[in-house]
Symmetry: C2
Subunit: 349 residues, 2 copies
DNA sequence: GGAGACTAGGCGAACGTTCGCTTTGCGCGC
DNA sequence: GCGCGCAAAGCGAACGTTCGCCTAGTCTCC
């Protein structure tokens, strides 16, 4: 039980005292400002390093009026996509010398009550929002407006907030178009949570691809998987109960696509021989499902980096630019999709 | 391009001026210290809320000598297990009113050069380390020692640092013992990265279970999967090339277990009829592989929460207690394991 | 009616910086 | 020989808090 008091930090005054100069001169040297003779400069630097001087950012930001720190509010750090985004954002911040302080907000509503104040108390220079399920939270939007530079991963009501994301409609379009171009005509889709914008966008892309191929959009081919394996599995079973002639399924993300694969296996349908499957997001595991999943790559890491770049540029110029950035997505063809002509009908056991 | 200067924050002096008292009195009211009459107290509180006063934690921590902030250094936020850990830690910190500032360190060596100074500059009250691959980094250990309260998820050389983790040897033991108790005698294991302590511990558990069952430990049944699906798949194939009589495989984590399942499928061996598979970690997906994976549950979330609890208790008492906490793990039986008697030998195609 | 205790509030200092303004000392041109 | 300009360093103030100590006023009690 080694209890020991924490050693006091060495301050610029300590360094000054040891070097025989005023602490302001020391400060000048450490910041490379003002004119100081080479010999004293060297002496001060030497002493500073001997004493292990580490500047106190708290004090510094008090006078500078900026903290070199940004807040990152996320709904769930363990969400795979979100965590890629976070890594991208954090690395970009680090590259630019900014610190990142995080808070997660509880899914059941307003963890915002804690998150925002915590960030404000710490006087963050800007905020990065990554809480997709808050996209309709007007309270949040209200608080954010007119105060700080904010960049969000998702839509924020009111529209004063800059957004960086990927083109979800294109995602849905590319996935579906890949299937129609391979001759599929009866294409089911297992969607994300109904109310969410991503879902609506991906659904729009799905419809557009079908229409372009001259295929009617039929509602019994659409079912909700709500981003979860188990629900996607169930949704797939429901679709096939309604329509036995489905030859392809587009899942609104890869995790659900894995559920779709499970469902098909369970029904005794082979992939891609009996049914093609395409997901989106391109998670690591997508390359290792059986068969490997055809999917649309969504650049989460780059989105995070880009969002942070935009945020920091706003912070540095002290301006607010409510622009929307969309990053490109692209199709990755693997083994889970095949020509419709190869598809042989096999009755459900 | 709506450029607008950032509004200055309202300070305790602003509130004081408006309420007609000194700013120190305002401070007293806001902190509930000293004696202030009910009427002025009410007036001050009213003004504070009218003006939207938010205390400046920077200034506060300057005089209080603590920042109510802890640093979290992690190797990779997008690692599934690590991110569960982080969520647990963050939530516990939040519950206790502490902020969390993060840095990731690059796998290729010493991102520490940036991470530590960044934390020190911000005068964090303590540091939580979650960078398993740094477990042998003496430089890191040296810097950490004797300065701040530090709790680590992994071993730190020199041993002055508190550690919270789960019982990896027990994990390996439970997984393997489950297999031996079901009559398996030829049990392969696909390990994590060789040099790592987790790997060594899980391997020790594996050996102990075998010995208890009176089975010789044979080196041609051990192969390295290095935590990755693809490598685990390859390792499995190699094992079966050496030994065709394997009836069960223990993978050092669930991700690799998925690779093992792929390999078996590829070889035409059915799970669990021809071969049983058990993983560990209990990731979300484990319940949805086909067949659902028998695994050992490792409480990452709780580990994070517990680590943060320990860290904060050290911070609050200003003491350093280099204790080691081990959290319990338990077996979860799903569909990927069966009695050895059911196992029928099928030659590799 | 006066001493003592208590209440309400003010004041100065400190925390560790940055920044702009002064002061000191010295070489130099006329 | 005198003022000028410039380099080197010091000084005071400010950032927004907390904290300990001081003071003025009121209440209580004998």
């Amino acid at each position: 039980m080694g209890v020991r008091r924490q050693a006091r930090h060495v301050s610029v005054k300590d360094v000054a005292a040891r070097s025989g100069v005023s602490f302001q001169t020391t400060s000048k040297v450490l910041n490379g400002k003002g004119s100081v003779s080479d010999v004293t400069r060297a002496r001060i630097l030497q002493v500073a390093s001997d004493l292990g001087y580490v500047p106190n950012l708290q004090a510094r930001s008090l006078v500078m009026q900026r903290t070199l720190t940004v807040g990152l509010i996320a709904s769930d750090f363990s969400d795979h996509n979100l965590s890629r985004f976070i890594v991208g954002a954090e690395q970009e911040a680090r590259r630019q010398g900014y610190g990142v302080i995080i808070t997660s907000i509880e899914p059941e509503g307003s963890g915002t009550e804690y998150a925002l104040p915590a960030m404000m108390e710490r006087r963050v220079d800007g905020i990065l929002l990554a809480a997709p399920q808050m996209e309709d939270d007007r309270a949040l939007a209200h608080v954010l407006d007119r105060t700080l530079p904010v960049v969000s991963l998702h839509h924020v009501p009111g529209g004063g907030v800059a957004t960086v994301g990927s083109d979800h409609e294109l995602t849905g379009y590319l996935a579906t178009q890949h299937l129609t171009s391979r001759g599929h005509r009866v294409i089911a889709t297992v969607t994300g949570t109904r109310g969410r914008r991503v879902t609506q966008s991906r659904l729009r892309g799905y419809r557009r691809a079908l229409e372009e191929a001259g295929i009617d959009v039929e509602s019994d081919l659409v079912d909700e998987g709500a981003w979860e394996i188990a629900q996607a599995l169930a949704a797939t079973l429901r679709c096939f109960e309604r329509r036995r002639d489905i030859t392809a399924v587009f899942a609104h993300n890869d995790v659900m696509a894995i559920g779709v694969l499970s469902a098909l296996r369970q029904m005794g349908r082979r992939v891609p021989d009996d049914c093609s499957v395409v997901g989106c997001d391109d998670i690591d595991m997508a390359a290792y499902t059986s068969p490997p999943l055809t999917t649309v790559h969504v650049p989460f890491y780059e989105t995070g980096a880009e969002a942070m770049r935009l945020l920091l540029s706003m912070v540095k110029t002290n301006s607010v630019v409510p622009k929307k950035v969309l990053l490109p997505v692209h199709l990755i063809v693997r083994g889970s999709t095949a020509e419709a002509s190869r598809t042989r009908f096999r009755p459900t056991p």
